[in-house]
Symmetry: C2
Subunit: 428 residues, 2 copies
């Protein structure tokens, strides 16, 4: 249909690419496909009954409030709950440091709106979270990317990147989406130290922090930043804006996340959020509070860890068995994803096409996660959503396909030298 | 707290003013204030019990789906319901014409993101909806404003405005927020004819269309546009993007609205929404569908009309009784607001300050609704939220205060000539 809108789109829409991930979700809808493409939690772990009881209680006791408009900052008891939760992890904040958002994705969008001028450089890991790139592209962001290895962002490469004068650093220290790797404690300190030296603040995105299946919990960057600088150990310094979400520990269908930031930044975000959606659903906020406030999340997270940890183990074991030696992959200590690295002469998008056609398996090619457009031979593989049986079967099929494609490359192209993945996630 | 964020805000934040309305909501929270400031529905008419039953059913039968991620376009059965609803009002569309948004405010924000380049002119009524100005200011919009009278936008002034080359026309034809006035049928035709002649498309914002308390329903601009042009009467032409919401007919606490637009515009909006919040809460969408799909809204809207119509009558009668003759006001046939026009030597912001201090009554000064910054002597008064008794009492107190202030002006300034409001809403 031709309409008068056709030639009226804003210039920024030229930087809009429909998310590769979202486009691929159509594959996940077909029941005969084993999908490792989405980042979906397992529905098995949703506390449906707790939600049912909470809805009933909230609507019986506070129905008029739950269905009415409310404040942009978010439901006060929920913000106070976040304050208590944050204190347990090591820093003192107040409700004036907290805003509830419609998921972390909204926090990224609002931060972009409030902070990014066209042409501003943002320092990111490569690969990094695609949703951040999508949100910030529309505000005209450019990127300085720092490579990663199995210990996260390569902080030796950080200083050069900081000299280029980024507006802020964006980092996902725990079980990063997409790579699954975790920033080591040593590097967390180094990141803070260097950021401080160059006066560049940090946005820390931590959707998966609680979903650790092995190893010791590492303090968040925001916590280390507050502790490492002040005599008064536990005060929030304001250098790090911290994002998290209820999507992985409760349910993504609520669309609830939160931002921790200095009060002045929160005030700016509140005005931006007024213009964006006035406020987040009162009802979902009250339900989340009702389900959570009595300590339910502390009881529930171990259940999630158990289920996802098992799936991760099944996937890693299956990859050991079925993937050809030319392929490498990360060993995430938590989260939802691992990262596959094909020989550098292979294209993960071609592998996906064949995987869906011939083997009925889906994953996400890694290129879109790289702001500089490299990483054609990488793939993001989700282990939280499919059952262990499907994981075993899907990895078997994917291994069979990749093995066949590797062999064909050897035969056809003669470039069969073992392009074994090194330690750098994005260099292979 | 000084932080490294302080000097890092984007330039667009200079056009951020915290909403006068939102700031004033703090007055509404004090129990001793009679507030006509917000645009809040009456909680009395929320169908709390229907929601309770719907939550129970959805969580028992489709709990895993309701709590999971879902598509950006919105819950398909809800979009199909909008298609059927739209057909009843006279035009055929398909689900590809519909996106669910987190309230109409989000639709305004996403439309701004997709359409507005810095410096673009948008043709708006004056006064117009503040939320649109707030959303679009952040994308660098400028405004060409067309005055209103009791029949809505003055279409005689439209041609000059169109010659200035606006990107689109933004119009709220039914019981406009803030003025309460309705665009006459004759002017709707004239608007369409002129927009068509100049090739300028229209965004029609219609949150209150169903809340009519007297007079005949007038077809939406989007409906008239489709009917007046084609032989095939009922086909959506795509010139008009139409916005509406569940906030006024069901409950605002859900944050659910919808956009009707050409499929290509919807695709752009979907990509923008992916970056903004991925998708609207699956749970609230399924609950709204469950409550609505069996015809509940048709049974519920008459209840709302009854309650709000009565409150409007009480307010109009009280204003007749208690307001001094120097003040004029609109007589809305529906919606939530009426518009008070003080003598032009008065400042509604000063009246508000005195009203809160001396009389414990609140309303919203009208200046912020005027893109050109005029309208200092106007005020938006909500009649949906307070009980009839509070309306009577509040208008009595407000009339007493304004009467006193008018008298003082006569005495002090000697400019007591009766500055009676004329027919133009924004010229007084």
């Amino acid at each position: 249909m031709q309409t008068p809108w056709d030639h009226r789109y804003a210039q920024r829409t030229q930087r809009m690419a429909s998310s590769a991930i979202r486009e691929l979700l159509k594959y996940t809808e077909k029941p005969d496909i084993i999908s490792f493409a989405g980042g979906l939690p397992a529905p098995d772990v949703f506390p449906v009954e707790e939600f049912r009881i909470a809805c009933d209680k909230v609507l019986r006791e506070q129905g008029a409030q739950a269905l009415q408009y409310s404040t942009t900052e978010g439901f006060r008891p929920l913000r106070e709950m976040i304050v208590r939760h944050t204190l347990r992890y090591g820093i003192e904040i107040t409700p004036e440091n907290v805003m509830i958002t419609a998921s972390s994705q909204q926090a990224l969008d609002l931060l972009g709106k409030v902070l990014i001028n066209p042409g501003d450089n943002i320092l990111v890991e490569s690969p990094t979270y695609l949703g951040a790139l999508q949100a910030w592209n529309l505000y005209g962001a450019e990127y300085i990317s720092v490579p990663m290895d199995e210990n996260g962002m390569d902080t030796d490469a950080l200083e050069d990147a900081l000299r280029a004068g980024p507006k802020f650093i964006y980092v996902l220290p725990n079980f990063q989406n997409p790579s699954g790797v975790t920033l080591s404690l040593e590097r967390r300190f180094k990141l803070i130290e260097q950021a401080d030296r160059y006066g560049v603040p940090i946005i820390e995105d931590d959707p998966y922090g609680q979903l650790r299946y092995e190893g010791e919990h590492l303090p968040s960057v925001v916590v280390l930043d507050s502790q490492s600088r002040d005599d008064c150990q536990h005060v929030y310094r304001g250098n790090v804006i911290y994002l998290s979400t209820f999507s992985k520990i409760l349910a993504p269908g609520l669309r609830l996340g939160w931002v921790i930031a200095p009060p002045e930044v929160i005030r700016k975000l509140v005005v931006a959020k007024q213009a964006a959606d006035l406020h987040t659903s009162t009802f979902t906020q009250m339900i989340a509070y009702e389900v959570s406030h009595g300590g339910f999340i502390d009881r529930h997270v171990p259940v999630i860890r158990e289920v996802y940890g098992h799936r991760r183990n099944v996937m890693l074991a299956a990859m050991d068995r079925y993937f050809p030696p030319e392929v490498d992959w990360t060993h995430p200590q938590g989260g939802l994803f691992l990262w596959g690295i094909l020989p550098d002469y292979m294209d993960a998008a071609e592998v996906l096409e064949a995987a869906v056609d011939e083997e009925k398996v889906a994953f996400v090619p890694g290129e879109a996660f790289h702001p500089a457009g490299d990483g054609k031979n990488t793939m993001r593989i989700n282990f939280s959503n499919a059952s262990p049986e499907k994981i075993e079967e899907g990895i078997y099929r994917l291994g069979r396909l990749i093995g066949k494609m590797v062999k064909e490359s050897h035969t056809v192209k003669g470039n069969g030298s073992k392009a074994k993945a090194g330690s750098q996630v994005n260099q292979i």
